[in-house]
């Protein structure tokens, strides 16, 4: 659901005078955006940084009089770009940390839930997808249409259609492969 913000009022007053509007955008979107960033990066600290940076950029855009017409879509686009940038400079330690966090989940009894294996299959299979494919699939899971995804990731609709097909196909193959081991 797109959050409605009185763009004219916010731009005219500046960010400080309408902090409530900015925070309303945050409150309406942070849960979806943080969960999306978490699934894309598979790293809690990185997801936190991405979401924070995306919203702080929104604040700066507002100050500059450029509050986007559709803040939610804008935030997703910024988060996707930030995730790509981060991936290019990802260090081995980040991957290692994510790996350990996945494995450590067995330690707490709170994590012992029936069906854990099935959910883990999807989560692990997502980890095998390239970043662009994972991002596109998760955007689709968050309710974005193919056309919207194309706009968010900066590809043509045709290329996005192929990317999403391969993402869904490869995800399914990985799940089936792991499930039958």
């Amino acid at each position: 659901v797109e959050t409605t913000v009185d763009v004219e009022r916010v731009v005219a007053g500046g960010a400080r005078e309408h902090a409530g509007d900015i925070l309303a955008v945050y409150d309406a979107n942070q849960r979806d955006l943080f969960s999306f960033a978490l699934a894309v990066t598979r790293d809690r600290g990185a997801a936190e940084d991405l979401v924070q940076e995306a919203f702080l950029r929104l604040v700066r855009e507002t100050r500059a009089g450029r509050l986007p017409d559709q803040p939610r879509a804008w935030l997703y686009r910024v988060t996707v770009n930030l995730a790509r940038t981060r991936a290019r400079r990802a260090v081995v330690a980040d991957r290692w940390r994510s790996l350990f966090r996945d494995r450590l989940s067995i330690i707490s009894a709170e994590e012992q839930v029936v069906g854990r294996e099935q959910r883990d299959l999807l989560r692990r299979a997502l980890g095998h997808l390239p970043l662009d494919a994972r991002t596109a699939f998760l955007l689709a899971s968050d309710g974005h249409s193919g056309r919207e995804i194309a706009g968010l990731i900066g590809k043509s609709e045709g290329a996005t259609r192929t990317l999403l097909y391969r993402a869904r196909r490869d995800l399914r193959r990985t799940i089936e492969s792991e499930a039958t081991r």
């Binding site: 960010a15 604040v59 029936v114 999807l122």
Partner: protein, 475 residues
Amino acid sequence: MSGHDRFEQLAASSLDFPLSDAESAELREHLARCIACARFEAALRLDADAAATRPKENAPARVRAAISAEVMHREPWVTTRRIGQLTAALVVVVAVVGGGIVLSQRDQGPAHLGLRSFSPIPGSMPLGYGLITDVLPYGSQLLAAGGSQAGGTSSGAVWTSSDGLTWIQASSPLPIGGTIAFRLATDGQTIVALGEDCLPTGQTVCGISHIWRSEDGRSWTTVRSALGSCCGSGVGVGYIGLAHGRSAGFVLAGGAYALPASGGSLIGAAIATSPDGLAWHLASPSDPALRLGSIGGVVDGPAGLVAIGATRASPTTQDPYPTPSVWTSPDGTTWTRSFLSTASQDAVFLNDVAASPTLYVAAGRDGSSAATWVSSDGRSWRESPASPSLADGTVHRVVWLGDAFVAIGQSRFGDVGDGLAWVSTDGLSWTRLDTGTLLTGVEVLSVGEINSRLVLFGTDSNHAGAIVGLISGAP
């Protein structure tokens, strides 16, 4: 592209893009006569549903605070996490310059442990990126188990220390790469390590247990990688608890599950015993006393073995609040289950159990507070009273250190939060240890004692998962 590939692509695209009328008709007609493609199309929809309904969570409150501060004050932006790093770095400098941090003068448990002051273990960062998930006294040394990265690959690892300050990794990593060890136990001579692996070995799957054995803490052999398998094909066991005692020797405890290909449902609590760490006897998880249970911790104590965990209503119930349960046994062979009685209307989770010569202490969470329960016989339990020191936290581990119980956990359960540690002499009244900012953003995973000093290990979310160690007492 084969004919079937084209329809797979159409099936996938139909989830994201509107198909033309001709494409839709063509796809419908093909799916009606091609079972394989119809199954593929159905599986794609299941994957999409599973992803769309995956659990979502809020960003930490500090993100909103940072954005609010930026909006209101227009100060130069520094992320809250960067502030945390700077604060941590400052603390380290203070520790080095001042030779340690005296954080509180109030009572913090047994005086000989020096719990009023903590310092970073100087060598903890060079220990690398990974986890230290258990520590164990062994002779005059302290052993630490976990996993570390070497040469770009991961492996289970064991470190040794004679003073808690200097740690040496065992000469060779544990025999199976890509494995983490997370529990240790010893009878004074033989050491058993419990771990798990995500790599397939034979028919196993991620989470299946591995057991190693050592006579000196330096050289390790795999006991049986397939120990996790039990009860016929299609069943896997994930052990979580490991203990040693007079009642049954070494004891492993966890849960037995049907492998994903066989449905993935819970069968029951899994408990294996061994006199020497080599030959193991596994109780049937289908036993009425174990059925539909899963165990998080086990200990040998004054009245025999006690295991804690939860029992589910049915094998396939996605029940987030299973019934907290306790199992007792005089010998590791015969088990009796009882259900924890609690007046709380909130969800109760039991995560670990420890024992002194006279008392058992189970620990976990009651609603939004850390909580413990004490018992002299393992059957009748009394809950710790609510207190500010336990509020807004959860306990992951509890250990008995000779004259006090020490519990470790974290604030803001369900989020990374900050590491917490408590001390208690009776298991009911707990004092939160004042570690200043040394555990900010740190998940505390293990605790032990050497030379009358408390040692805490965790992983630092502000430093890409680097191992962090703290030691009590004068530097």
